[in-house]
């Protein structure tokens, strides 16, 4: 019964392989989280790091608000179910289940002969640690056995039981301890298909009953979809997407997730998009197929995808393609499919074909199509039939990055703009550019991040269309000059109209694909190292005598100080930072590895000492001013306080406590 948080978790093996890369997640109490992905994606490694069976290379893992990185598995109050059950073969089921209880102690109130609690001098009951009594253990085992229906096997040895029964015992051994978190590592992979379905339901039931946080690892997407409250899809050590099963299915963030979730696999075609009037034409590559979609689907898409030249992946699930005659007649998105073969599954039939009339339909290609049909179909190989595409459920991905081009929460709004006379004109509006932004006049593409709109009492008046709630994000859709824009907003009430201002330090303008206005960088990175400085000095040590009185001894000792060397400037490393660096990098390596120190402009100060810098200009964004300095070969923005001057030659001092620290060669975030 606890929440978990994983912050920048990495697993790096001694040979340099990164098994898990920057895993970030907050898991709420009582959630059922499923890690899913192909083998070798790092899902089990992550689970084993949570369990404490693997060291965490970098990052911070908390269970119930306690950092557990350096805790032994037994102290983390977790239980784990293994794929191969891992029952102790020389013990009976009963002994297997009590083993964990025998190892553990619980806190209890000391009682006197009459059964009343013994009080200490403050009137508090005296507590002590004791083992479970035989009766307590017996009671717990019976309760757990009853839940799982294994009461009659309690006297048996594991080898006398079937796989399903063994896995039940394994679950029983886990729940009998009432752990904070239940970890399950592919628990059903060794069972046959029927038993798997049954156990799936039982585990889901168990979760509902126990009210414990469950983390479940599987490579089976059906298990993930049916059991998880949220699913983490992983690939090659990277988290691909974290979302509810439904959202993963409906809004896959990239091609991998789209292909991994759902059976049969989603059909992927290649093609291009071209805006024609109020519609967008989707042209399929290697085929004559072409469908037309209303532009309304593409409000969140970057306009440059719609010029007819950018190759994209078009994804459609087998169930979103229909060959039902009526559907085809009513549809305006029909493509010709040449049937190659079919797989009859009883209740449904999978029809394989190709939208390329020369294609063969057996090999997975960018024209092969699988169609799920409910009714009996009697097409023979080579027939050419009409298929209707359900364009409501179309998924589009960039061909290079494989990221969706219709994101749920878009990063930017893309607009055409013109800059002239220090003014920014877009969508018929005109805004004064702050003096910080200097650029040549002319046209360009304006990128406004969705978090760059400030709602308030003044600014551009816009018509609010609606607010969409996506996980924790509220996305406001509004209209300026007939163009839909999106903004991330807070909890405020939204009326029919809103007034928006632009946060000018976040916008960027591109001309012919290259930036002419850059947003203010969110952070700057400095090179540096951790150093060890030895000094001799007198240390006062407080000692306690036997009678309780204290006295101090002064000793002449070598004192080791840890110092951060940031671009040549030295700062005393706070103990927690030094400790974290040393534990993460290793005692010998911590002082050799090159580090990157990351700071936001707000955490940089102009000081008497620090990294020397020369003023380039002062960036004045109206409400905020920043000194732009040339410093260590970079352009560094430093926040200027109200009325503060920016000296030409200055020293920049970072706020050490707020630095982000990254190990340079491996790109591992340590803090």
């Amino acid at each position: 019964m606890a929440n978990l948080s994983l912050k920048h978790i990495y697993k790096v093996y001694p040979n340099g392989t990164k098994a898990v890369n920057d895993f970030n997640m907050d898991i709420a109490d009582k959630e059922f989280i499923v890690f899913v992905g192909p083998s070798g994606c790092g899902k089990s490694t992550t689970l084993r790091m949570i369990a404490g069976l693997e060291d965490i290379s970098a990052g911070e893992l908390t269970i119930g608000d306690v950092v557990v990185n350096d805790m032994e598995p037994k102290d983390r109050d977790i239980a784990m179910v293994f794929q191969n059950y891992a029952l102790y073969p020389h013990m009976t089921v009963y002994e297997n289940m009590t083993f964990g209880l025998k190892m553990r102690k619980i806190q209890d109130v000391k009682k006197d002969k009459n059964g009343d609690p013994v009080l200490d001098e403050n009137g508090e009951p005296v507590t002590y640690m004791r083992h479970y009594t035989r009766e307590e253990m017996h009671e717990r085992v019976l309760a757990a056995a009853d839940t799982l229906g294994i009461t009659e096997y309690l006297g048996r040895k594991p080898k006398e039981m079937s796989g399903g029964q063994r896995q039940r015992v394994s679950l029983g051994r886990a729940i009998v301890r009432e752990p904070k978190v239940m970890l399950l590592d592919e628990p059903l992979s060794n069972l046959d298909a029927k038993l798997r379905t049954q156990m799936r339901a039982e585990i889901a039931k168990l979760h509902a009953r126990l009210n414990t946080t469950f983390i479940y690892v599987t490579h089976d997407q059906i298990e993930a979809m049916t059991m998880g409250t949220r699913i983490v899809v992983m690939k090659e050590g990277f988290v691909q997407q974290i979302d509810t099963p439904k959202n993963l299915y409906n809004y896959p963030g990239n091609k991998f997730v789209a292909g991994f979730i759902g059976t049969p696999q989603m059909n992927f075609f290649e093609g291009t998009l071209k805006k024609v009037g109020d519609n967008v034409e989707i042209n399929f590559a290697y085929s004559d197929a072409k469908v037309v979609v209303p532009f309304a689907y593409f409000y969140k898409t970057r306009p440059s995808y719609l010029n007819g030249n950018v190759p994209v992946y078009i994804g459609l699930r087998a169930e979103d393609i229909s060959i039902d005659e009526e559907t085809v007649r009513a549809s305006n998105a029909v493509v010709k499919v040449r049937v190659s073969h079919k797989e009859e599954l009883g209740n449904e039939t999978l029809l394989y074909g190709d939208i390329n009339m020369e294609g063969d339909g057996y090999v997975e290609s960018s024209t092969r199509v699988i169609i799920k049909c409910n009714e009996d179909v009697d097409y023979s190989d080579g027939d050419v039939i009409d298929a209707a595409l359900d364009l409501e459920h179309i998924h589009l991905f960039d061909k290079e990055t494989e990221v969706t081009i219709i994101p749920r929460v878009p990063e930017y709004n893309y607009l055409d703009c013109e800059i002239a006379d220090g003014k920014l004109r877009f969508l018929g509006e005109e805004l004064e550019l702050p003096s910080a932004i200097e650029c040549e006049d002319g046209e360009g593409e304006l990128l406004i991040p969705t978090d760059a709109f400030i709602l308030g009492d003044e600014g551009i008046e816009a018509k609010a269309i609606g607010v969409e709630v996506i996980a924790d994000t509220r996305l406001l859709c509004f209209e300026i000059g007939g163009r839909r824009l999106f903004a991330i907003v807070g909890e405020e009430q939204i009326g029919d109209t809103v007034k928006v201002k632009l946060d000018m330090k976040k916008i960027s303008v591109l001309r012919d694909g290259s930036p002419i206005v850059d947003p203010m960088p969110k952070f700057v990175r400095f090179d540096g190292k951790l150093e060890k400085v030895k000094t001799k000095g007198d240390v006062e040590i407080v000692k306690t005598k036997k009678d309780g009185s204290q006295y101090t001894v002064t000793k002449h000792k070598t004192i080791i100080n840890f110092v951060l060397d940031i671009e040549g400037a030295k700062y005393v490393a706070p103990d927690n930072i030094a400790l974290k660096l040393i534990t993460t990098l290793g005692v010998s390596k911590a002082f050799e590895k090159e580090l990157l120190f990351e700071s936001t402009p707000y955490d940089l100060n102009l000081a008497e000492q620090g990294i020397s810098a020369q003023l380039v200009r002062v960036a004045d964004y109206g409400s905020e001013r920043f000194g732009v300095y040339a410093c260590a070969g970079k352009e560094v923005y430093v926040d200027l306080k109200e009325g503060q001057d920016a000296p030409v030659n200055a020293f920049i001092a970072p706020t050490v406590e707020k630095l982000g620290i990254i190990q340079k060669d491996m790109d591992i975030r340590i803090i």
């Binding site: 369990a51 404490g52 069976l53 032994e72 598995p73 037994k74 977790i78 239980a79 784990m80 293994f82 794929q83 191969n84 059950y85 891992a86 029952l87 102790y88 073969p89 020389h90 083993f99 964990g100 190892m103 553990r104 040895k157 594991p158 080898k159 006398e160 039981m161 796989g163 063994r166 051994r173 301890r177 060794n190």
Partner: protein, 287 residues
């Protein structure tokens, strides 16, 4: 002439080959058993023949050899010496072997692989190559003609016998350790409560090997105990009896001693045999 392919019955073939195989096995076991049987018979023989046994069954049957063994010779002292040495070596060596094997099987440390290889290579050299050196070292330490010295020699290289035992530990799934660690056990508890009960067969094997090796060892002890008949082990002492001068009068006694010497090993085997065969890993994990 055309070759006629003979009809071959598979069953007949199997039977024929079985007959041949069993015939060979029987011959081998006879060859192997003859010395034991002969030894046993000779220990009850009253003929003073020495080496030259002319008949399998003696003319005169007697217990004299056994009586002489325990009344006239120092056999009991030697027997005691050997027993003490063997028991101590057995205990120490078993502990060392199990500990080494567990460490090599379960823990990952920097020198693991090099150490394992080094031990394997060192183990390939016959032990007596170092005999002279060992003798002088022990002499400096004042441990020649001393049972403790002998125990030292026998136990010193125990860890090198890790190989078979480690192989067994490797077959015990690691997830058992992990499950136990999550259940709240520390490394020691895992070893004693989980691994050891599962490793019974290999422990038995280790115990047997650790006992029988010093029990019958001759070379080191003959070197080390030279000149002090009170510190002899049975092998050294009995070797004296079949030297040229004594063999005629002591051959029967020698045979009787050999029978007595074999008793503890036979008992040990009989007692431990059932664990030796029994595998207990079944049902631990998916099998």
């Amino acid at each position: 002439m055309e070759k006629v392919k003979r009809f071959r019955s598979k069953k007949l073939m199997e039977k024929t080959s079985n007959v041949v195989v069993y015939a060979i096995l029987i011959i081998i076991s006879i060859v192997w058993l003859i010395p034991f049987v002969l030894l046993l018979i000779q220990s009850f023989s009253g003929d003073q023949t020495g080496y030259s046994i002319t008949r399998v069954f003696p003319e005169k049957w007697t217990f004299d050899n056994y009586v002489r063994l325990f009344s006239e010779t120092k056999f009991l002292t030697w027997y005691g010496n050997t027993f003490v040495v063997s028991i101590v070596v057995m205990v120490v060596q078993t502990v060392i072997v199990l500990a080494t094997s567990y460490a090599f099987s379960r823990m990952r440390f920097k020198m693991r692989k090099p150490l394992m290889n080094l031990m394997l290579i060192l183990g390939m050299f016959p032990g007596f190559l170092s005999m002279t050196a060992v003798y002088f070292i022990l002499k400096e330490m004042g441990l020649t003609q001393n049972l403790i010295g002998l125990m030292l020699v026998y136990t010193a290289s125990s860890a090198m016998g890790y190989y078979i035992c480690k192989g067994f530990f490797d077959t015990v799934p690691k997830s058992l350790d992990e499950a136990a660690r999550i259940d709240g056990a520390n490394r020691a508890t895992v070893f004693f409560k989980i691994i050891l009960p599962l490793a019974k067969p290999i422990i038995i094997y280790t115990i047997l090997m650790a006992f029988t090796a010093p029990w019958g060892e001759y070379m080191f002890s003959s070197f080390l105990m030279l000149g002090d008949p009170d510190k002899f082990t049975v092998a050294v002492g009995m070797k004296e009896w079949i030297g040229r001068e004594m063999v005629n009068s002591y051959f029967g006694v020698f045979c009787a001693a050999a029978v007595v010497v074999s008793i503890p090993i036979v008992l040990l085997f009989m007692f431990l045999q059932r664990y030796y065969v029994e595998g207990v890993t079944g049902g631990a994990v998916k099998g």
